[in-house]
């Protein structure tokens, strides 16, 4: 007779099914009570009954590739409409032979942004300078042409997603310096400067963007001396920049307020002048804190650019509306709007994810 004694510890048993694993998860989260179970079943049925016809319409029975509406035969969504007009939706009436220029600008933009956003890439400072100063110049030369042997492309021909992006990016970049000045002014100890900045900020924040666009398209020509004409796009950009600078000022101000008073005093104690102190001590810290806020206000600006269709510019939404209003493609409004929604959604959603990511990485407290 020999007793059985283990020499090694036995592996621990898996936890019981009621505590861990998919079954337990479903029990806790979907079927925790009778009421919950009924709710879960009803919702699953409702989702299935709504989602199955939609998937059927949008993917399974849909037509994807073709040249005219006659290619839409299967009764589902007619994505041929988007396929045919893709160039129009992306760059508007930009000449076919020059489209490579828009693609090149897009590629440079993507590479620059990747360089700014990916932590491992070195030389951040130079990339920042490139993005803020060099890139706009390159982009303008490439898009507008008329130099370096590139044929001139009038802004009337810019359209679609290209125009949406141009308006959004110019809006935020041009509004940035003005926003910082306004934010500093609002926190200034000089009463008149402060009053002017408060009034400016509150007025622009108090009115809807559409009235600002109306103003810039109708009243701006009246404000300028006789014979000085500015084109439609520039007028819209002026309005959007002023509008956006007020919102940015409030974002920057929140960052300035978050900097402890000791930092301001330290800058003074070192004998730095106001501007030196701001430039070298305060702003680098304040702007870093408000990156998520800046991204968020860029998201709302990006959504707001769709308003320019009301003053007759052909941005993404306007080109899509124009396309399904033409007699050849009448009746494909749903496909058009869904495509527009998808494009806007991809941009806004990824930006909001990025801003949340930055927010988390900036959070150093527990």
């Amino acid at each position: 007779m020999q007793a059985f004694i283990t020499r090694e510890t036995l592996p621990s048993l898996p936890p019981p099914n009621t505590i861990k694993g998919p079954m337990a998860w479903m029990r806790q989260n979907l079927f925790s009570s009778v009421g919950n179970t009924i709710v879960t079943v009803v919702i699953v049925l409702a989702i299935l009954s709504a989602l199955i016809p939609f998937i059927n319409w949008a993917f399974i029975k849909a037509d994807w590739i073709g040249t005219s509406r006659e290619d839409c035969t299967s009764g589902g969504a007619c994505w041929v409409f988007v396929y045919v007009h893709l160039k129009l939706f992306m760059v508007g009436l930009y000449p076919e032979s020059e489209v490579w220029r828009t693609l090149l600008v897009g590629a440079i933009l993507v590479v620059t942004l990747a360089g700014l956003m990916i932590k491992a890439v070195p030389f951040k400072k130079y990339i920042q300078i490139f993005a803020i100063i060099v890139f706009p110049v390159i982009a303008f030369i490439l898009l507008s042409g008329d130099s370096f042997g590139l044929p001139h492309v009038e802004t009337n021909f810019w359209g679609g997603l290209l125009l949406t992006l141009v308006i959004a990016i110019v809006g935020i970049v041009a509004a940035f310096p003005l926003g910082i000045l306004l934010a500093l002014g609002r926190r200034s100890s000089m009463p008149i400067v402060k009053a002017i900045c408060v009034v400016f900020i509150e007025v622009w924040r108090g009115v809807p963007l559409i009235t600002v666009l109306f103003m810039s398209s109708v009243m701006l020509p009246l404000f300028l001396p006789e014979g000085m004409e500015i084109n439609k796009l520039l007028r819209a950009l002026v309005g959007i920049t002023l509008f956006q600078s007020a919102y940015l000022a409030e974002v920057v101000r929140s960052g300035l307020q978050a900097i402890p008073k000791g930092q301001y005093e330290a800058a003074n104690a070192l004998g730095l002048t106001y501007w030196q102190g701001m430039y070298k001590v305060i702003l680098p810290q304040a702007l870093k804190i408000v990156i998520p806020g800046i991204v968020n206000s860029f998201i709302s600006l990006f959504k707001d650019t769709s308003l320019v269709l009301i003053i007759g510019l052909f941005d993404l939404l306007a080109t899509i509306q124009g396309a399904f209003a033409s007699p050849k493609w009448l009746g494909y409004a749903i496909e058009g709007y869904l495509f527009a929604a998808l494009v806007y959604w991809i941009f806004c959603f990824s930006m909001s994810r990025y801003s949340q990511h930055v927010e988390r990485s900036l959070k150093t407290t527990h």
């Binding site: 989260n29 709710v39 919702i43 559409i210 009235t211 009243m219 009246l222 806007y344």
Partner: protein, 403 residues
Amino acid sequence: MADPNLSATPPQTLSTVPSKPSFWNDPQKRALVFQILLVIGIGLLLWFIFSNTLHNLDKRGIKTGFDFLDRPAGFGITQTLIPYTEASTFGRTFLVGLLNTLLVAGLGIIFATMLGFSVGVARLSKNWLISRIALVFIETIRNIPPLLQILFWYRAILPLLPGPKDSISLAELFYLHKRGLTLPSPLFEPAFIWTFWAFIAALVLAFIIGRWAKARREKTGEQFPVLWTAVGVIIGVPLITFFLTGSPLNWDVPALSGFNFRGGLTVIPELTALLLALSIYTAAFIAEIVRSGIQSVSKGQSEAAASLGLRPNRTLQLVVIPQAMRVIIPQLTSQYLNLTKNTSLGVAIGYPDLVNVFAGTTLNQTGQAVEIIFMTMLVYLAISLTISMFMNWYNKRMALVER
């Protein structure tokens, strides 16, 4: 080293009064000069703009001034809350547009709040499926421009509805069709005014009961069912008055005649689309506010309430919601403000709001751009300032009293 006197002259006795800084090194004087220069600069810019505008207007033969407000408008408006004809003045047009804007804003705020709170609570549901659906709703709607949503409802979804002849009817009273939603309209008889006064009186009464109950509770600790009493009074008193005065209210029920409805009240499709889009869009933001507000109340609070013996419902009602509201209300107000400003997007689908009938049609007909844009902006500014004044007042009232 630059100053040769520095080493040559013997050190003088230090005076306790610091020497006067030179003009440019005195921060106060420098600030004064800077501000004067700024005011001059802005004044010059404004004068430049002003003189250019006068010159340009003069050249185009446009008379400045607000006389145009008394001239007849000569165009119709599809939805008017106050009597309006083509013979009415531009001033009247302004009022009609303003009321239409306020109508959408008011209704939109109600719907957005209801939907937003439901979605926000659903987002916190213990049922994984419900909270996921709420999340998908929020993330989808927030990231699509409101203008696109308005156009989507108006141009893509509403045209799918049947024409008036085959409209979807509910109990032969409500009809949903392409041209809008037709519903019975109330016809008030003169005696109905008594019901209205009874309603006002009931509101006052409910308020007094509330004050009394609160005073008694703080004195004796006894609870009084304020909510149910108030609801009973507010509904009961007008109802009794209504029947005592002989039911002075009739309904004008719509009936189909030919291709359209006769009688009743038709909600124009522009209003429906604008309301749907703006309520849903704003609701997504409100839902996030409600969620973060409820989550901001620390768990210790509900645990403390439970250990005091409060039931879950009372915990929510007496402990969690009052504290969450402190976080929710300021953000909610700014969403209401956004919704009000977004009603101006109605111009894209032809909803006759202020921007459409005044800054659009009236401007085109009179050419008085400066006055009209100025008035329109002033209206929105006034609404914004009123709401933010209310918000500041509320914040001060609700601010945490800390010891």
